[in-house]
Amino acid sequence: MISTTSIPQREAQPFLPYPFTETQPPPHLVTQGAEALLYRTHFLTPSTAAALKARPSKPYRHPTLDARLTKQRVLAEARVLVKLSALASDPDNEVKVPAVFNLEWDAARKINGLTEDQRGARRTTAAGAWLLMEWIEGKSVKDLLREWDSWFMATGSTASPEEVQAQVEAVKRLLRRIGRAVGALHSKGGVVHGDLTTSNIMVRPATNSSTSNGSAAPTIDENAQADDMPARPPNFEGEIVLIDFGLATQSVQDEDRAVDLYVLERAFGSTHPRQEGQFDAEVLQSQEGYRGSYKGANVVLKRLEEVRLRGRKKSMIG
């Protein structure tokens, strides 16, 4: 799980496995979470940007348990991504994820038949696993909505009501597309994400996409009118890409899907108080959002009501 919260500096060098220790230019550390570090690097050619998710081995765990968990998790994440990427050829597919380039579940393992010399730098690498993925250009929904908030704060009082209304509509369209993407993940993908937050939902600008089908991507013409504003409202154009499948599982259970939506709802509410009121109507209930995205969505939304009542937290005894 990649957390965007900054954490205190570790004393030691951050974990970077072989062969990325040899990469030129060296990978750039983007963020550091509890379980993994995210680097920006490249794959095969310097022009192909790639995301490296490195999972260092946890020294507090028993080595056998650690090796088992690290391997299980990196493989589970890769399998989910590969499964979802395979949907890319489907013209109606609305769930986009980073493609998997390569992975290693034991960076420090010995390879039979290699001499010490041939093992080279691999010999000294720290234990852990890594997953190399396609780099997703664009911004996270979290950043986009934050930008929208600051635009609204700066110009909301001076902009014409029509202009504000148009921008509110643009946000609503974005929210509905998020609902559709999650719906496609659940139905076509058969996957629950496990950690849906607005930081894990990206908007990739349409220019970078070769597979844009244009069905759900609205264009925002209002930008032209906003030229004389102190800040321009953000551009929501592009395709929705889901990232960070570190906690994802393959499941088609209504309960798991409802909990997935509940996690997103809670995260959304605490991150974007201004848009919280629109979440239910746009992301979940709209026919262009989750409800309309697949046939079983009604049942899942019904279950979500139960999940909400139950809450995540039960009363404990003792």
């Binding site: 957390s3 979470g33 509890a34 946890k58 765990r61 028993h62 496990g194 950690d195 937290k313 009363s315």
Partner: protein, 349 residues
Amino acid sequence: MIAIGLEGSANKLGVGVILQPAKGGPAQILSNIRHTYVSPPGEGFLPKDTAKHHRAYVSTLVKRALAEAGVRLEDIDCICYTKGPGMGAPLQSVAVAARTLSLLWNKPLVGVNHCVGHIEMGREITGATNPVVLYVSGGNTQVIAYSSQRYRIFGEALDIAVGNCLDRFARTLNISNDPAPGYNIEQLAKRGKVLLDLPYAVKGMDCSFSGILARVDELAAQMRAGTLKDPVTGDAVTPEDLCFSLQETVYAMLVEITERAMAHVGSSQVLIVGGVGCNERLQEMMGIMAKDRGGSVYATDERFCIDNGIMIAHAGLLAYRTGFATALEESTCTQRFRTDDVHIAWRED
């Protein structure tokens, strides 16, 4: 200011007297005594028998605590008792004792949340200012962090508590409950070598222990039947190995969810409280994790980790000093009382 605290939410009956200097500064522990109801090996403690134990011992313990503290009745400002969470019958018997003392001595009552008692005592003893708290005991497994006058629960066990898992496995193996089943498991685990595969159930910042218990119980049955072999060497697996495997697995889960909460709130301090917090292997693992994050782990010994009266007195007195008191008519107790229900009026940050 001086408070007396009565705790009896589970099988420990504790009475403590604490003094908090009016001008601030560290609290002084005037007395802190405990009497534990120990059930026979292979059995847990039943609410009825535990309540009977508490009723039988409470007046003796109060007298001893007062004598040991050397305070006069008129110096005591308030009587603090555990309002919950806990087992119903034991909680009630202690609440009755607290009410009786309140009427007898004409002192105000303060109902205290057991979990908040653990957290406040841990902070007082270790000096940790704003840590992520791992509260692990026979009844509770919670990862807690403070934010705007509440102790918020970031993650918790979705079914049984980690201590309950250990206690019940001790029953399976027929290990003694004296002094505590978890302590005896820890001693056995020190001699264990083989790590057997057990389920590992972490979901985000929550975790689950019932499946692990079911699996390790199964393995124990195979061990007794003589069919369980170490997959690598083929040697017979011992009870020590099972305890070792269980500890390594459940503590790795606890450290993992704590680390996640630390990354989430951006804290590098971690405080372990609750009975399972005495476990040295858990403290060691947590220490390695915290060091890796450039932080440190704070833990206390059995006097404060295991349920005690002093923590109730301490947390109760903190609340009392902000003007909080529980009227006699409202001096009830409850089995369900969440940590985040309590308004932490005494913290300003």
